[in-house]
Symmetry: C2
DNA sequence: CTGTTAGCGCGTTCAA
DNA sequence: TTGAACGCGCTAACAG
């Protein structure tokens, strides 16, 4: 049963392999007489024939596979992104080949290498850091590369993004509106453009409103809970005085910050408001429910998938896109010094 | 730059392609003189040569790729599982090829078909439902198949599992110990063996302790939050009287149950205790923090990865394994009618 | 130590 | 409408 080849099918149907090939190719089945076609299809089914995609790719130069690189599959933010990509690829019967860098450059390099060797039809990366730029543009000389979610500023590669600058401004504006005058950011790794932009957008809006930003030394190594917790503890330990609101650069970090607050005996939002980023669905039931900037990750994923397909078609250059953020207000942000938001 | 072949490298180095092949194969490089080897390696680097894995697979009959099937990448429970698998595969420089069924049989079939066509070296599935059994055993006639996380009872396929029966007994025992005498289960889909076993283990332990199980009509279509919420609402609406504790069959469903309780104006744990399953790391900060049966998913993943490797080696039959559960007590369970657990 | 030959499974010529 | 021949890129087996 294993290793049934086209040759076997042809023999069973009493035809030449190339006739069998034609009969089994939807695009060419009308070059074969109905009668023989049926015989061949029957034989293929009976023998359990399965085309060898490796061999087909060798011949056709296409593998019906798109490499997808994520930084951290444990971040619930990436799931909708992957769903969006898979949905878009389904239109051309391609399958994503998913791999995870864990934000490690060397691992990223190995993954790219493997994908190129595997001759994927295109690569979508949601894991880019600035240090990866050259490597990615290099890869793009072999295979179309689409940048998704994590921007690569100044790169000519097509990008499916989200406007992090506006998103962070939205976050800051919300805090300003609530009356906060002392705030702080817990920065994600700044060599990920998104976090650099969030830092910039947030600061810009604060400055404009005359709001004081309490400095927090350092940034997260990775945008994960443990790092958010670490930075929050550092902020609590500093003697610059506590802010009344903090902006961890994503929901995972916000979760860590909440843990740190609790460990320090502080309450959110009574003592400190917390505003996250991504509006990760699975985290909407934290204690307290997190105010967060919503990231349209499914849509970004779909756009990236479509762009990957388009760049494979060779139908000219592919346009980058950038989708807007929205703000989702929940219980973790209130005016400074006030009690919990009514209704929660 | 694209499409540099071994032939090109050989030409550039002034040798025969097979010599170049040997020089570039770590396992055979000592069959080539140091001098020519260096020349070949240099030429390969200069030209940006990358082996064509499709072609190599065609020749060698191995693709250095293992298909990994998950039911739902949005379930945080699967991430450690995937990490475990990837870690194990790294030992033989294989890469996982990840796909998602979304608990849809037809999609599962397409995925298996694609993976077999791709000639992956083995398949690890964490998405099995009883209806998938025949299909999987069929696939196993072509390629080694390892069942992970979701059991396929009675199947001869090698399985890397967890003892769900004991786990559910642990959950029930905990509730019994707290003094609950009226409890209920929110059942996951029973065609997933794990949930069937959880149902059975929980009931058995309750019966033995003389605890009453309030019936909940129906089961979840999929083990996700929305379904947990739906079942909890159904339980609240029934006139069998409320239990003092509920056991949703996994953490995601527990999250939905918590939402339903809140919507009904009930508090957890004061009015109803909730105990989940999986001890999903990312959910440890729910309101209230969830008591849960811990599932060693990373370890199960590693075991599955090793089993996949072993079954590819052809070194005899592969032993199934089953890892034990442990209980992690947090704030969502207290004695019936009592206030919140002190310390939380 | 290196070159030659052959073929993995398939699809695309070109002829019949 | 079908068959024959060739080659995609690589490597195993066999010579030399």
């Amino acid at each position: 049963m294993p290793g049934v080849t086209l040759h076997d099918v042809a023999a069973a149907a009493g035809v030449h392999p190339s006739t069998a090939s034609r009969a089994l190719d939807p695009a060419k089945e009308d070059l074969v007489s109905e009668a023989t076609r049926r015989r061949i299809v029957a034989a293929a089914a009976r023998l359990g024939y399965r085309p060898h995609l490796g061999a087909r790719g060798l011949k056709r130069g296409r593998t019906a596979t798109v490499g997808v690189v994520a930084a951290d599959l444990g971040n619930p933010f990436v799931t909708p992104l992957l769903h969006g990509i898979a949905a878009a690829l389904e239109a051309v019967r391609s399958l994503p080949f998913i791999a995870e860098t864990q934000d490690d450059h060397a691992r990223f390099e190995r993954i790219l290498d493997h994908m190129l060797s595997r001759r994927v039809d295109a690569i979508i990366t949601t894991a880019a850091r600035t240090a990866d730029r050259e490597m990615l543009e290099d890869a793009a000389r072999h295979t179309p590369v689409v940048i998704a979610a994590r921007a690569l500023p100044g790169s000519p590669l097509p990008q499916a993004l989200h406007d992090d600058l506006s998103g962070a401004e939205l976050a800051a504006a919300h805090l300003v509106e609530l009356g906060h005058v002392r705030v702080a950011q817990l920065r994600g790794p700044l060599d990920v453009a998104n976090f650099a932009q969030r830092a910039e957008g947030f600061s810009a809006r604060c400055t404009r409103a005359g709001v004081v930003e309490v400095p927090v030394a350092g940034t997260a190594d990775r945008p994960v809970g443990a790092e958010g917790r670490r930075l929050m503890h550092r902020l609590l330990a500093s003697d610059d005085g506590l802010p009344t609101a903090v902006f961890p650069h994503n929901d995972l970090m916000a979760l860590g910050a909440l843990a740190a607050l609790e460990e320090a005996g502080l309450r959110c939002p009574e003592d400190v408001s917390v505003i996250g980023y991504n509006d990760t669905e699975i985290l909407a039931r934290t204690a307290p429910p997190l105010t967060s900037v919503s990231y349209p990750s499914r849509e970004v994923g779909e756009a990236a998938g479509r762009m990957a397909i388009a760049s494979t078609d060779g139908s000219g250059p592919v346009e980058s896109v950038s989708l807007p953020p929205t703000l989702v207000v929940r219980a973790s942000t209130t005016p400074p010094g006030s009690g919990p938001r009514p209704g929660w």
